[in-house]
Symmetry: C2
Subunit: 102 residues, 2 copies
């Protein structure tokens, strides 16, 4: 029942990811999620970043909409999991799009 690995990007996803990565703090959150083994608790982000819950929720929504993280509810808590495959797909697509075909 695992989510499938993503090797290619959906239409518009490339642009959404580029925007999601552009804000330093949001990227730091993504990186923080990536550092966690398996999942990262939302509470850990609230503890580690000096911004309000509302702002964290907003950033995480952007990351999720871009497909960079997955949201996992556990009762009243929320955990996040990095989609490393999506990051890698974006990196590959980035290099591909600036390269001359052939």
């Amino acid at each position: 029942m695992d989510v499938e690995q993503q090797t290619t990007l959906a239409p518009g996803q490339f642009e959404r990811i580029a925007k999601a990565l552009a804000d330093p703090r949001r990227f730091a959150m993504l990186s923080s999620i990536g550092q966690a083994c398996d999942e990262c608790a939302n509470q850990a982000l609230c503890r580690d970043f000096p911004v309000s819950k509302a702002t964290i929720s907003h950033h995480l929504k952007e990351l999720a909409t871009a497909g960079l993280v997955e949201q996992v509810r556990e009762g009243q808590y929320v955990n996040y999991r990095l989609r490393a495959d999506v990051v890698e797909a974006y990196a590959a697509e980035l290099v591909r799009r600036v390269a001359r075909p052939g």
Copy 2:
């Protein structure tokens, strides 16, 4: 007398690149420069993108400041050359920064 290939990013360059890539039109210009064999004339960009010269100049400055393109003056004209090595260095650093060490 070639410029050296860049395999690692300068301090702050990662953030500058992320921001530079975030605007779709600016990225399209970068891609357009990449499609050209060798260099891309500024005039080609002025022809291909429906924005003013001022806007193009602004975007290209951002790309150059991020190190993604090189500016080459030829008399009154300006050409741009893609720094594919920098794009690749960014892509690698991106994957590295979200991955757990080890």
